[in-house]
C-alpha cells in the first residue's frame, strides 16, 4: 500500500481536486483506492456526495479506539472508498498533541487497512502543523500542487527545506511537485514554470490546467473523469498519475 498525501502549506492550489481526481484515475485502472479527507472543510467528502460525519468521531480514529475500517464509506465508483471529513478535525492538532507518539498516529491507523488498498490519498488541510508532520510520517510521497506564482514558489521551497532539515521525521518521503491551475496564456505563469523547473528539475512534467471543467466538480459533485472523460483536464490527471507511478 502506497500512501500519497496531497499537500501544500498554501490553500486554494488544487489539493483536493488532485486527491479526488487522481484517486478516481487510479481506481479506474483497477487499483484499490482509499481517500482520507483530513481537511475539516470536507471538500473531498463533498465531491463524493458523502455526509461529512465520522460515526464515533474522528478523534476515536486518531486515538485508536475506532478502527479506520469502521469509518470507511464506499463512493459511487468501483474500488474507490473514502474516510469522510468530520468538522471536528479542526481539533486534530490538539488531539495529536495529547496523544502518545503523535507523529505515528495516522500511520498506525492506516496500517489497519494496509491489506485492503493499493493506494491511499490523504487530503490534507493547508498549514505546517502537527497534523502535517504526522501526515509526512505516514506518507510515501507528498503530491504538491503548485501554482506558478511567486508566492507558490516560496511555499514550495519552504516545504522542500523543511523536509531536508527533518530527515528523521520524514524518513523516505518523496516530494512530487507539479504545476497546478496553469494558464498558459499568462506570460507570468510560463516564466515562473521555467524558473522553477530550472531550480527544481525534480518537478513533474505533467501540468494541470486552470479550467472551468475542474471548477465544475463542485456542481457535478464527482471527479472530472466521471463527467468530463477525455477532456483536457481529465487527460492531464491521467498523465500526472502515470508520471507519479513512475516516480514511486
Amino acid at each position: 500500500m502506497k500512501v500519497l498525501a496531497t499537500y501544500n502549506i498554501k490553500g486554494g492550489v488544487g489539493k483536493t481536486a488532485t486527491a479526488v481526481n487522481l484517486a478516481h484515475v487510479a481506481a479506474a485502472h483497477g487499483n484499490r483506492v482509499l481517500v482520507w479527507d483530513l481537511d475539516p472543510q470536507g471538500a473531498a467528502t463533498f465531491y463524493f456526495r458523502v455526509k461529512p460525519k465520522v460515526k464515533g468521531g474522528g478523534k476515536a480514529i486518531v486515538r485508536g479506539s475506532l478502527e479506520l475500517g469502521d469509518a470507511i464509506k464506499a463512493t459511487d465508483f468501483d474500488n474507490l472508498d473514502l474516510v469522510p471529513a468530520d468538522f471536528s478535525y479542526r481539533h486534530l492538532d490538539l488531539w495529536l498533541d495529547d496523544a502518545k507518539k503523535p507523529l505515528a498516529r495516522i500511520r498506525r491507523a492506516l496500517r489497519q487497512v494496509s491489506d485492503e488498498y493499493d493506494y491511499v490519498f490523504l487530503d490534507c488541510p493547508p498549514s505546517i502543523s502537527l497534523t502535517s508532520e504526522s501526515v509526512f510520517r505516514a506518507a510515501d510521497a507528498l503530491l504538491v500542487p503548485t501554482i506558478p506564482t511567486t508566492l507558490s514558489l516560496r511555499t514550495y521551497e519552504q516545504l522542500d527545506r523543511f523536509v531536508e532539515e527533518n530527515p528523521d521525521m520524514v524518513r523516505e518521503l518523496k516530494i512530487l511537485g507539479f504545476f497546478s491551475m496553469v494558464d498558459r496564456h499568462k506570460r507570468l505563469h510560463r516564466r515562473f514554470m521555467n524558473e522553477l523547473r530550472t531550480a527544481h528539475p525534480e518537478i513533474l512534467e505533467a501540468t494541470i490546467p486552470n479550467s472551468t471543467d475542474i471548477e465544475r466538480m463542485g456542481v457535478h459533485r464527482e471527479p472530472i473523469g466521471a463527467y468530463g472523460k477525455g477532456s483536457k483536464p481529465a487527460r492531464a490527471y491521467e498523465a500526472l498519475w502515470s508520471e507519479i507511478q513512475n516516480r514511486l
Binding site: 485502472h29 483497477g30 487499483n31 463524493f48 456526495r49 458523502v50 455526509k51 469509518a71 470507511i72 464509506k73 464506499a74 459511487d76 468501483d78 474500488n79 472508498d81 493499493d118 459533485r221
Partner: protein, 517 residues
C-alpha cells in the same frame, strides 16, 4: 462490508415490467441497461471460483466493444474493454492493467477455460440518499442459455461499505414490491446448471438452491418455486400443443409438486397443503388424456414397424384416428387450462409462494433444518416402497405394480428435488437402480394403458368396413402385450438390484459428511 444478497424474482411479469417497478415504484436510478452475450471464464482447476471471484467476457448486442469484467462477490474489481472479439485463452491475453495484473498472478500461468455462455439483459440500478449518493446497488439480470432456455430472473442487492443499513432497508422495500425468494446460487451457477441440463436451472432434478442448514419450510418453498418456474416456462408450449415435450415437462413439474406437497405435512400450512394438493391433482388429470394421445402418436410408428410389411399400410387410417383424438384432447385440455379455476388457482399458488407470512410458523417441523426432515421422509418413502415391492409376485394384479410405481415416483422425486442436499455418490448409487426399476414399471404401465386405449379407439374403425385395419390393430395390441410381459418378467431382477444391501446402505450415507478442517 455487507454481503451480496441474491434473490430469484418469482413475480409474474417480464423483464421490462419488473424493471418498471424498480425504477418507477421504488425510485431506483437506472445506471446501465445492457444486452448481449456473456461467458464465464475460469482455469480448468477453478482457481477464480475458489478465490470467490468471477471473470466475465461480455459481448454486447450491436457494434459495441466486448469487455472483460472481473468481480468479487458481485462487486466489480475491474471492467475493461477487450481488444479481441473472442474470450481470452491465456492470462497474457488479459488487458495490461494493474487489476488484471493481479488476476494474472492469481491464474499463475494457467489457461482460461470457457464456461457457460448465456444471452442476458442486465440492468444496474442505484438506490440514492438525499445527497444523491449511491447507498446500494441492485443488479437485475435476465438470462437464457444459447439454446433458448430461460434461467430464473435474478436480483442482487449489493450493499456499499458504510451503508449496510440502507441496503437492508432497500431489501425490505424490494420484498414488499416484488415477489422474491432468497437464492444462494449466482447467475453463473444457474447458467452452468442450465447449460448442462439443457432444461433451464429450475426444471432439472437438482435445481433448487438448497443447503442443509436451510429451514424445512424455506427449502420446500425453494423447490416449489423452481418447479413453478418450470411450469411457467412450458405453459405457452402446452397451450400451443406444437411440441409434446412441453406438455411432458409441464406434467413432470406438476407431479413433482404433488409429491413434495404430499410429503410436506408439518412443513406447510395444512389448509394450503390440502387445497393445492387437490388443485394439482385436478391439473394433472386434465392433462393426462392429451399426454396419452401424444404417447400413442409418438410410439405408434414404432409399434407398426413390428408388424409384417403387408399389414402396415392397413393402419394408415388409424393414424388419422389418433391425430383426431389428439386434437380433441388438446382442445379439451386448453379449455380447462384457460378456465377461471385454473387462473384463480395459479394466482393463489404464486401468492402463496411469494407471501413470507405463509411460510412462517406453518408446521411443527417447518423451522427445523431441512436435511433432517427430508432424510426422515426419504427413509420412510423407501421403507414403504421396498415393503410393497417385496410383496409383488408373478400373481400380483397389474394394479399392484401401478401402485408400486407411484410409490417409486414419490421416492425418486424426493431424492431428485432435494438432491443438492445429499451426498453426491450415495445419491447416484440409489438413483441409478431406482430409475431402472421405474423404467421397467413405466414400460409395464404404459403398454397396459396403450393397449386399452387403442382398443377403445379401434371402435371408431370397427364401425366402418375396413376390418383389415382392425385386424392390424390387434397385431399392435399383441405387440404391446409382449412388451408388457417382458417388462413384468424383468421386474423381479430389477427390483432386486434396488433392494440390494449396498443400495439400501447408501440411504444411510445420504447425509453429507462434514468436511475436516
Amino acid at each position: 462490508m455487507g454481503k451480496v444478497r441474491r434473490y430469484e424474482v418469482t413475480a409474474a411479469g417480464d423483464f421490462a415490467s419488473v424493471l418498471a417497478v424498480l425504477t418507477d415504484h421504488l425510485g431506483l436510478r437506472l445506471l446501465s441497461h445492457d444486452e448481449g452475450e456473456r461467458s464465464w471464464l475460469d482455469t480448468s482447476t477453478g482457481t477464480l471460483g475458489r478465490a470467490e471471484t468471477t471473470l466475465e467476457f461480455r459481448r454486447p448486442t450491436g457494434d459495441a466493444t466486448p469487455s472483460l469484467t472481473w468481480a468479487c462477490e458481485g462487486r466489480v474489481l475491474v471492467s475493461d474493454p477487450c481488444v479481441s472479439s473472442t474470450p481470452p485463452v491465456q492470462a497474457s491475453d488479459l488487458p495490461a492493467t494493474p487489476a488484471f495484473a493481479r488476476l494474472v498472478a492469481l491464474v499463475d500461468g494457467g489457461e482460461l477455460v470457457l464456461g457457460p455462455t448465456v444471452s442476458s439483459q442486465i440492468a444496474v440500478l442505484a438506490c440514492l440518499d438525499d445527497e444523491e449518493k449511491t447507498t446500494a446497488r441492485v443488479v437485475f439480470d435476465r438470462s437464457e442459455t444459447l439454446d433458448g432456455v430461460a434461467l430464473p430472473m435474478m436480483l442482487e442487492v449489493l450493499p456499499l461499505r458504510g451503508y449496510e443499513d440502507d441496503a437492508a432497508a432497500l431489501e425490505k422495500k424490494l420484498k414488499r414490491s416484488v415477489a422474491l425468494s432468497a437464492s444462494s446460487a449466482s447467475m453463473k451457477e444457474l447458467a452452468l446448471r442450465g447449460v448442462r441440463s439443457g432444461h433451464g436451472a429450475s426444471s432439472g432434478h437438482d435445481s433448487a438452491a438448497l443447503v442443509p442448514s436451510m429451514s424445512a419450510a424455506g427449502a420446500w418453498r425453494a423447490v416449489f418455486q423452481n418447479l413453478s418456474e418450470s411450469m411457467t416456462r412450458s405453459f405457452s408450449g402446452v397451450l400451443s400443443g406444437n411440441d409434446p415435450e412441453d406438455l411432458h415437462a409441464f406434467r413432470v413439474a406438476v407431479r413433482r409438486i404433488r409429491t413434495i406437497l404430499q410429503d410436506g405435512d408439518d412443513v406447510i400450512d395444512p389448509e394450503s397443503r390440502d387445497r393445492f394438493r387437490h388443485e394439482y391433482r385436478w391439473l394433472g388429470d386434465v392433462t393426462t388424456p392429451t399426454r396419452d394421445a401424444d404417447v400413442h402418436l409418438i410410439e405408434f410408428p414404432e409399434l407398426v414397424a413390428t408388424l409384417p410389411s403387408s399389414r402396415r399400410e392397413e393402419l394408415a387410417a388409424f393414424n388419422d384416428v389418433l391425430l383426431r383424438h389428439r386434437t380433441d384432447c388438446q382442445a379439451a385440455m386448453v379449455a380447462e387450462l384457460r378456465s377461471l379455476r385454473r387462473a384463480e388457482f395459479g394466482t393463489a399458488w404464486l401468492s402463496f409462494l411469494a407471501d413470507d407470512d405463509s411460510w412462517t410458523g406453518c408446521g411443527e417441523v417447518a423451522d427445523e433444518p431441512v436435511l433432517r426432515v427430508v432424510l426422515m421422509r426419504v427413509n420412510k418413502a423407501n421403507r414403504q416402497f421396498v415393503k410393497s415391492g417385496r410383496k409383488i409376485s408373478k400373481k400380483s394384479p397389474a394394479i399392484a405394480l401401478h401402485e408400486l410405481r407411484k410409490e417409486g415416483k414419490r421416492l425418486r422425486y424426493l431424492l431428485e428435488c432435494f438432491g443438492p442436499l445429499f451426498d453426491e455418490k450415495a445419491l447416484a448409487s440409489i438413483l441409478k437402480p431406482l430409475r431402472e426399476l421405474q423404467d421397467v414399471l413405466g414400460e409395464f404401465q404404459d403398454t397396459e394403458v396403450q393397449a386399452h386405449a387403442l382398443l377403445d379407439l379401434a371402435g371408431e374403425l370397427a364401425s366402418g368396413e375396413d376390418h383389415s385395419a382392425l385386424m392390424a390393430i390387434g397385431g399392435v395390441i399383441e405387440q404391446l402385450g409382449v412388451r408388457g410381459a417382458d417388462a413384468r418378467a424383468s421386474f423381479s431382477k430389477t427390483f432386486g438390484r434396488f433392494d440390494d444391501r449396498k443400495v439400501q446402505k447408501a440411504f444411510d450415507r445420504l447425509e453429507p459428511r462434514k468436511k475436516k478442517r
